[in-house]
Symmetry: C3
Subunit: 295 residues, 3 copies
Amino acid sequence: MAFLEELQMEGVASHFARIPMFPFFDLTHYMLSLMYLRHEEGICNVSRKSPITCWICSMLSCFGGAMLAAFMLGEPVIKPFESNINIVLATIVWYMVFYFPKDLFFKFCSLLPAKLIIVAGKEIARVRKIAVGVAHAHHVYHHGYIVMVAVGLAKGAGSGLIATIEQLLRGVWKPETNELLDMPFATKATLLGAVLFTMQKTGYVPISKELLILIITTLLVTIKVTLTIMHSHGSPLAPVESALCRVLFGSLPESSSHDEHKTGHGSGARAPEPGKQTRDDNEASLRKRKTKKAE
Amino acid sequence: MAFLEELQMEGVASHFARIPMFPFFDLTHYMLSLMYLRHEEGICNVSRKSPITCWICSMLSCFGGAMLAAFMLGEPVIKPFESNINIVLATIVWYMVFYFPKDLFFKFCSLLPAKLIIVAGKEIARVRKIAVGVAHAHHVYHHGYIVMVAVGLAKGAGSGLIATIEQLLRGVWKPETNELLDMPFATKATLLGAVLFTMQKTGYVPISKELLILIITTLLVTIKVTLTIMHSHGSPLAPVESALCRVLFGSLPESSSHDEHKTGHGSGARAPEPGKQTRDDNEASLRKRKTKKAE
Amino acid sequence: MAFLEELQMEGVASHFARIPMFPFFDLTHYMLSLMYLRHEEGICNVSRKSPITCWICSMLSCFGGAMLAAFMLGEPVIKPFESNINIVLATIVWYMVFYFPKDLFFKFCSLLPAKLIIVAGKEIARVRKIAVGVAHAHHVYHHGYIVMVAVGLAKGAGSGLIATIEQLLRGVWKPETNELLDMPFATKATLLGAVLFTMQKTGYVPISKELLILIITTLLVTIKVTLTIMHSHGSPLAPVESALCRVLFGSLPESSSHDEHKTGHGSGARAPEPGKQTRDDNEASLRKRKTKKAE
């Protein structure tokens, strides 16, 4: 019975893995990427003043993952731009998001039902990309575990990782934060997924790639859709991380526990180092500036 | 009669296309690039304190386009440095521009007649480089239109595009501006040229490559020489751009037209976004600092 | 007699060149790189808050040279991560340096006798890496002298050169300084070594590569160990540089010699250019801010 069930699952998984990404899932990926970009400070100004810069930043948001993966593997970073049909699709989405009359397209996509579909589609595309990235890296470096994880991570969450460069192109510079320092849930999940696919590829996870894709996709879509409905930016991984950090990197200075109680962050213990003060100072000055602007 | 004329033009074009770039046109390219670098704030200080840094920045100015194109196509970024004779030529120009007794070389090149020859030579070299870049990209990606345009643009105007990195190497950081955000005329013309060469390569422009080189070169040299004589930094493309922007990205917020009237820029309408204020604030503080220094 | 002596030297050199880098010399390289990183401002905070970022920065410190060389030559920048055994070794060192109970490991390594061994080992590894880098570049570009020097320099001192990127990953941004602008002795020695190896490779230095490795290693280890014992950050090359700069780039404005006398730096003449003031202004404002914070 269990055997039959598994067979059926395998069948579903293999069917699922054969669904092509283009056009629907690619479309949702472009839409969500550009909707995030649209929320960025100052981008609307750039979209009026310099549409070319806006378009280039948009393409970096859409194809950044593929470009980062290509850079890591010494392939042409411009390779993702070879596929004209994808470029055209992304360009149409870019035009609709930034220049649609009365901004109706962006407003429509921001409605919860539409957004849920887009988020779900994007996560399905993400998992497939991680799998493709790991497989590609495995093809080049058969035993490079770190390489596989890194390329999978880049493919799945690359746009976020190169956001600093994308911001720089449009004249915004925020060196004090990046997605490595302050990983959002999606990036953490991508990292975890890349580790799992790498383990599958090297034989440490005894299930088929198709089944793994199905499982991770189901999990990720469920979680992201739930988070979107709840308007939450929290991470379901936080308790696990916190415990893991305590065990692995736990020998904290005594004062750190005080600090943790005081701040009540709980997402990993902090040590009050001299460097922290600088950061805090910066944050304080940033906050001040923002307050000023708001006035 | 028209047929014979065309034949003659083709003959001239094919002769023109066979003129080698080395040494004269390469020389003018190095001279103009380094003269622009010499005008940069703080570079003279760097040239005294750290000649090696100055030399590296100079090489980035001279070979930046080739390096950027190589980076895009996944080739060794250091490939342009393989050609010893070009490096020696650029190094001699670097030495003359920065360390010539009493700065006579720089002063001589800055005289109008000398500068006109250098500007003309540089534009001739630029058009040839765009054509080479597009052809190279076409060789790698037969149908990658965007790739061809991008590589052509990089080859023709790459030094400007990577100026942010070149500045960073000598300790100057200006994230709020770059040549993408605020394209000078030369970069725009390069982009247009890259588009035309790409169209020629893919059969949409029914004239020979040689003739296209001749036409674009004639236009570009004429315009740049005129602009140099008039000491103008304006762009003859501005009205076309303005109209095009209005048609393509025209659905501006109502307030934008007011804004435009007020500022009177005319080079594309601006929307007063919250992000803009930040930029303006920065610019204001920059201006203040400059004024202070001048005192 | 001299012939016999030389034979013996060649034998020693060839034996020395055959000592494998792994594990001891690689280990000392990782240890010193991470000890330097550990001294950086704010890194301890990052190591608590985001161990992954800390690990990535550590790997950049350990393998930055190989990555930079790979980038220059158009090879996969992630190639150094293919070697699992090296990654494991570096990761163990990383864990010990940042998370050892009561920080005993770091304190032990910072003791003078331990540090001297680590410094000596690191310099031995460095010279070998320069030789490997030059040989690799020579293999790709037979006559690219600059390429050979650049790749040798990158291999030997790359971690320092990409420190700006490594800092950026952990949210620290110091554009006003980098190792090119303000070369420490080790980087200068690496550059000199790369030039020598390039000359040997192209036949201008008539001794064997093994002997050259032995000579440069002996010199470098002696100097660095001496500098470490003396707690000095000075450079034994300063007088040579100063003289060389005076001859090559000597046409300084008259005031420069005054300036030099006044500041008494002696490490290369400085010209009081308008650009310098900016830097000085920045430094002054930085110092002010620091003072403020200290209060």
